[in-house]
Amino acid sequence: MNSHDTFFAQLSTLGASVTLLFGVVLLWRRSLGAYIGAFRWQSLVLSAVFALVGYYGHDHELYVVAVVLLALKVFIIPRYLKRLYQRVGGEREAQPYVNIATSLIVAGLLVMLAYAITRPLVMVSKLPTRGGIPLAVGLIFVGLFVIVSRRKALTQIVGFLVLENGIALLAALCTYGIPLIIELGVFLDVLMGFLVMQVIVYHIRDTFESIDVEQLNQLKH
């Protein structure tokens, strides 16, 4: 690997780490506004990573992907999220199912698990970006953990969006992105999924008077 590649490898791994760290912020902070901010920054860094991979991988389609990602996840979706946050009131994640200190330790363990699981991938891959693959899978796990351990519906939506970011990062790092049409279709699906979730959260607010999913216990056996 020449030094040109090494620099690319370092930068891409750095970008992946920062993305993961913004995901960990979801486990650290309590305010829902902080989650939206963390997601925005994470998406910004992610689109920078896509642009970086496009530059060094000599693939111009990735610039398109980076721009679409920027427009969608840094501007459009956060705007709707903010509006949702303002309308459903200033609730905070005061008592998550797993407390914050434990969540952070679990996050560290999940990243180590991701490293263990993705060893075959890192060994098989010949790309310079392969160092970041475990971090992308770690981000996927962290997103899953956020969804499972948090009580507010809005937090779960942001956790889902972070999960999607993790998968996009995985695609960028291990295959320099997937065919453009598919990628755009994926973005469209994410946008629509988010809009539907948003609608349902409004419904939850209207019928349950709060967005605490602990209240959603009507349906049992």
């Binding site: 030094s3 370092q10 650290w28 180590m112 160092g131």
Partner: protein, 313 residues
């Protein structure tokens, strides 16, 4: 022989600079807050004053109360002998490495906590319990953060870590490197009792950690403890700057290199002082139950730094 002389000189330099560092930060904060502030060398005068004063002790205090300040001071000085302040590698490297540094720091903290408990006052007990809560998470984080670097260097010897980073400049933007730096920075704030973890200039019960433990001390004991706290600050600053950004550290023992190293050290310390002063002015103190969360974040960062250095060798 020159090596050992150099070591002692290094320790003396640290002793000399430490109060000045504390004073500089205080002066900066004052200026940032719109006050004139005391001169940056005010702490030297404070130390001289304290050494001249009489010691007043509680009747309930035991030998531990008199013994602790010496231990605290001695451990701090011992650490300055092991940390690469101006040169690396050093002759004492054979005796101590990363783990020795961590243990010595913890020893000092331990005795400080005991000394807080000894007179049997409420404030002392409260401060001691808070201090060990912070230390419980912070100490492993120090070890992990520096261990991340050690993995890259293949040894836990601090001097060798510095030499490794000097010979491989591109590693600075390595995620493991940066994560370790951030983790260590947060821990530094916690261990030296700076905002947002602890306010070094408060005596309110709600907000004291370090001050609560030393509330009973006076005279020369107080002077020793204050000096040791200043030394700890200097040690952490130099660990942060010399392990992660080691340019300026002398690798040969020529007067020229050493001179450059001293100047580089002063510059780095000043830069970090500016950053810390800015941070302290901008951020409010965290509520006490949030402190473990902050330290938990730094622990995760340190864990990630070790994992990434280890698995991406």
């Amino acid at each position: 022989m020159t090596g050992y002389l150099l070591e002692i000189g290094q320790a003396l330099l640290a002793l000399l600079l430490a109060p000045g560092l504390v004073g500089f930060i205080r002066w900066l904060k004052a200026r940032l807050q719109g006050r004139r502030g005391a001169m940056p060398w005010q702490p030297y005068y404070d130390l001289r004053k304290l050494f001249g004063k009489e010691v007043v002790m509680s009747k309930n205090a035991s030998w531990l109360f008199r013994f602790a300040p010496y231990v605290i001071f001695a451990t701090a000085v011992a650490v300055t002998l092991l940390v690469p302040l101006v040169a690396a590698p050093l002759p004492f490297d054979a005796v101590g490495d990363l783990l020795a540094v961590v243990y010595l720091l913890l020893l000092g903290t331990f005795f400080l906590a005991l000394a807080g408990l000894d007179p049997g006052t409420a404030f002392g007990g409260m401060g001691a319990s808070r201090e060990v809560t912070v230390a419980a998470i912070a100490e492993p984080t120090i070890a992990l953060a520096i261990f991340g670097l050690a993995v890259g260097a293949g040894s836990t010897n601090l001097g060798r870590i510095v030499a490794q980073t000097l010979s491989n400049p591109g590693a600075v933007i390595n995620p493991g490197h940066l994560l370790g730096f951030t983790a260590l920075f947060v821990v530094m704030i916690a261990e030296t009792g700076r905002l947002p973890v602890d306010n070094p200039s408060t005596h309110l019960e709600l907000t004291m950690i370090h001050e609560a433990m030393i509330l009973e001390y006076s005279g020369r004991y107080l002077a020793l403890i204050e000096w040791a706290a200043a030394l700890k600050l200097l040690i952490f600053f130099s660990l942060l700057s010399n392990l992660f950004l080691p340019w300026g550290v002398a690798t040969t023992l020529t007067p020229g290199a050493l001179g450059v190293a001293v100047i580089a050290l002063v510059v780095k310390l000043a830069a970090l002082a500016v950053i810390v002063a800015l941070l302290e002015t901008r951020i409010a103190k965290l509520r006490l139950f949030r402190v473990p969360e902050l330290l938990g974040v730094s622990f995760v960062l340190a864990l990630l730094s070790v994992t990434s250095s280890f698995l991406l060798r």
